[in-house]
Amino acid sequence: MGEDRSDRELAERVVGEGDEAAFRALYRRHTPAVFQFALRLVGGNGAEAEDIVQETWMRAARSLGTFRWESAFRSWLTGIALNRVREMARKRGRSLVEVEGEWEGSVAGFGPGGGGRDPGDRIDLERALELLPPGFRTVLVLHDVEGFTHQEIGQRLGITEGTSKSQLHGARRAMRRLLTLNLETA
């Protein structure tokens, strides 16, 4: 079931009847996008991304009845997933706001002609995203991949628009550096 039913109809069946088939239809419709989103935010760690997706669906299912359908269902899900990413970063004592100067030092290993790999071996954009520090990666994914505005990023990450812009600037510089330099370590 589910292909021809709207998200709202399916959600109402889940809330009203505990309908498992309706839930599975919702899950199959939205999970690939939410999983990809989570996967990018955590730098390609599949197990971690699955944990985020699981927690996202658990939270969504618990509060489906209070969702007011003023935004798209998938946006709501990605918002929950993003909150989960923030919580995980907080638990690990990591900030999602990077200081560009600090990161510059940490990429000392990435340099022209760096050993360990073929000198002509360039990394692709996906790999560069994985290698970015979490704060830069988060803003870059939200803005340049998912299309969020700085205002939306600010609201969702609890930062100012100005901070979002400066983070994006730093993130793009870092990404370009990764894309143009050879990778020293796999």
């Binding site: 079931m1 589910g2 069946r13 889940v14 009847e17 505990g18 309908d19 498992e20 088939a21 309706a22 839930f23 599975r24 899950y27 199959r28 999970t31 690939p32 996008a33 999983f35 990809q36 996967l39 599949g46 991304a49 699955e50 997706v53 699981q54 669906w57 658990m58 299912a61 618990r62 946006s75 954009l125 996906e126 803005h143 340049d144 991949v145 998912e146 299309g147 969020f148 505005t149 700085h150 939306e152 994006l168 600037h169 793009r172 370009r176 143009t180």
Partner: protein, 217 residues
């Protein structure tokens, strides 16, 4: 979400993306498939929390993705419950045989349970029986659906076939016992008849008398 702040940049050193970079971002995949076990993990957790119930489970099992027979039908439900009895009894008997080497004692152990205990064991074994079949189906579909067609898919097909045969055998035995238990129940008799005809067809012989004896050990 909107892309209203996205502009084509001035160059690789500028703050904005240049056209090549924009294209590279646009080409990134927007979807990825998690492991096939994640869905079951989440559904199980939601069931445990009481958010998902049994009604939708029956509908899902019977519809859409071809998970197997329509368990929502009363006669199939009865057959699966009967299969539970046989499976449970078989397990208990095997366990006792291994421990005491006495089949008679094993049968007594099952028979000594009262009606309430038996109903509970029927329910538990039935759930395990159906869950195992669902898992088997998922396994078969997962391996086969990844387009490999290699040895993994072949092993999954073989396991699926073997599991199906075992499940059908248990179902047949259970239907037989259930028919003995409820000789006046026309639906159960019909189930047994269908299963008997299938078994006879597969074994290449004509239907035999209903008065056969099931011997398990």
């Amino acid at each position: 979400m909107s892309g209203d702040e996205r502009e084509v940049g001035q160059g690789t050193d500028g703050p904005d993306l240049n056209p090549e970079e924009e294209m590279a971002f646009q080409r990134l995949p927007r979807e990825a498939e998690p492991s096939r076990f994640l869905e079951e993990r989440i559904v199980r957790s939601l069931r445990d929390e009481g958010i998902l119930g049994a009604a939708g489970r029956r509908e899902e099992v019977g519809a859409g993705r071809g998970r197997g027979p329509t368990w929502g039908r009363p006669w199939m439900l009865a057959a699966s419950m009967a299969a539970s009895v046989v499976l449970f009894a078989s397990g208990v008997i095997l366990g006792h045989r291994m421990a005491s080497d006495s089949t008679a004692q094993a049968f007594l152990a099952v028979r000594e349970q009262d009606a309430g205990q038996l109903a509970l064991t029927i329910q538990e074994a039935g759930t395990a029986y159906v869950s195992a079949l669902v898992a088997l189906g998922d396994l078969g579909r997962g391996k086969g659906g990844e387009g490999g067609g290699g040895s993994g898919a072949g092993e999954a097909s073989a396991a699926l076939l073997q599991g199906s045969e075992v499940a059908l055998g248990s179902l047949f035995a259970a239907a037989y016992e259930l028919a003995r238990l409820n000789p006046g129940d026309a639906d159960v008799q019909r189930v047994l008849q269908i299963l008997e005809e299938r078994r006879n067809r597969e074994e290449g012989r004509l239907p035999e008398s209903r008065n056969m004896v099931m011997v398990w050990f």
